[in-house]
Amino acid sequence: MNFLYIAYAATWLIHITYLGVLVRRYQRLRHEIDELKRSKS
């Protein structure tokens, strides 16, 4: 039973970690876009 729960938890941990990476990348990109806009104005 333990293996079952570990497998399910590991699956969601992998997906949530990847979603976290995507959110961080998006925030960094937004920051770069804002900086570019600021430097232009």
Binding site: M1, I6, L22, I33
Partner: protein
């Protein structure tokens, strides 16, 4: 159209919750393996989703290469049409089909190749196919990682070992390594030829997918024979739960791919603007 994404996200979350309930509670308990067999409902749909994403990556890579030349593009269109037609004809005419294949699966695969090829061609530009190739490879690697993690967690209580170097397991690991190297090439190479090299690598990498899939029919492996297709049987309630979970993972993968694609396009646009700015700077400083 802007509302469609959050609505789809909520529906996917609901579907994933329902699929989890079905897998952990509603699905019948397998007699020999017991509850640990329920890993099947995450392991197999993740593998199928990864294969589908790598297949889309393969189609995108071909399109990126052939669209550079008009003659190659026309030839590729005809190859896609002939492949789809040949698969349908083979499904009707050839008897018996090779082990592990059924007429319906051969015809569906052929039509899917042709359909997907022209769908991508219609909705994505040359650079769009390149961006979609990166996205599907990345999300495919995530799903393939799930397969490689849940597999040993299922194998340990059932086989008594975490890992064995049999063809199915090894070819899956090789597939994962090929696509990780593809992503590393995309991430760290600064050459203008990177998309071209990556597309070629992806086409060779995709050749491993049929090897992974058919390895259990061709070789004697520790990995069991499939219960769907190839003459296996599965309890209808288990099949229902499996398909619900696959549908949920497909929706989840589509959702991530959509977000990742938007991110990739934004990133490329920003890089383009930054490159233009860098070109203009020396002139303005003179």
């Amino acid at each position: 159209m802007k509302r469609a994404f959050p609505i789809f996200a909520v529906l996917t979350a609901l579907l994933l919750s329902y699929a989890l309930y079905e897998a952990l509670v509603a699905a019948p308990t397998e007699q020999t393996m017991g509850n640990v067999q329920r890993i099947f409902y995450y392991h197999v749909p993740s593998a199928w989703t990864a294969f589908l994403l790598f297949f889309i990556n393969f189609v995108c890579s071909i399109q990126y290469l052939v669209r550079r030349d008009k003659v190659a593009d026309t030839i590729a269109n005809w190859v896609a049409i002939v492949l789809g037609t040949a698969a349908c004809v083979a499904a009707i005419v050839i008897r018996p089909l090779p082990s592990g294949t059924e007429p319906s699966s051969v015809a569906t695969t052929g039509l899917a190749i042709t359909g997907l090829y022209f769908l991508i061609k219609k909705y994505f530009s040359g650079t769009g196919t390149d961006a979609l190739a990166v996205v599907t490879a990345e999300v495919g690697v995530v799903f393939c990682t799930v397969v490689l993690v849940t597999g040993p967690l299922w194998a340990r209580p059932v086989w008594g070992i975490w890992w064995t170097w049999d063809v199915r397991l090894t070819s899956t690991l090789v597939l994962w390594l090929i696509y990780v190297s593809y992503l590393m090439l995309r991430r760290f190479s600064t050459s203008g030829q990177t998309p071209l090299l990556a597309a070629a690598l992806a086409i060779f990498g995709a050749l491993d997918v049929p090897l992974v899939y058919f390895s259990i029919w061709i070789f004697r492996t520790q990995h069991p024979q499939p219960v769907i297709g190839g003459g296996g049987s599965i309890d209808p309630r288990m099949l229902h739960v499996l398909l619900i979970n696959w549908l949920a993972f497909l929706c989840f993968a589509a959702l991530i791919c959509r977000s990742r694609y938007r991110l990739e396009i934004l990133q490329r646009e920003l890089e383009e603007v930054q490159a233009l700015e860098a070109l203009q700077e020396p002139r303005s400083s003179r």
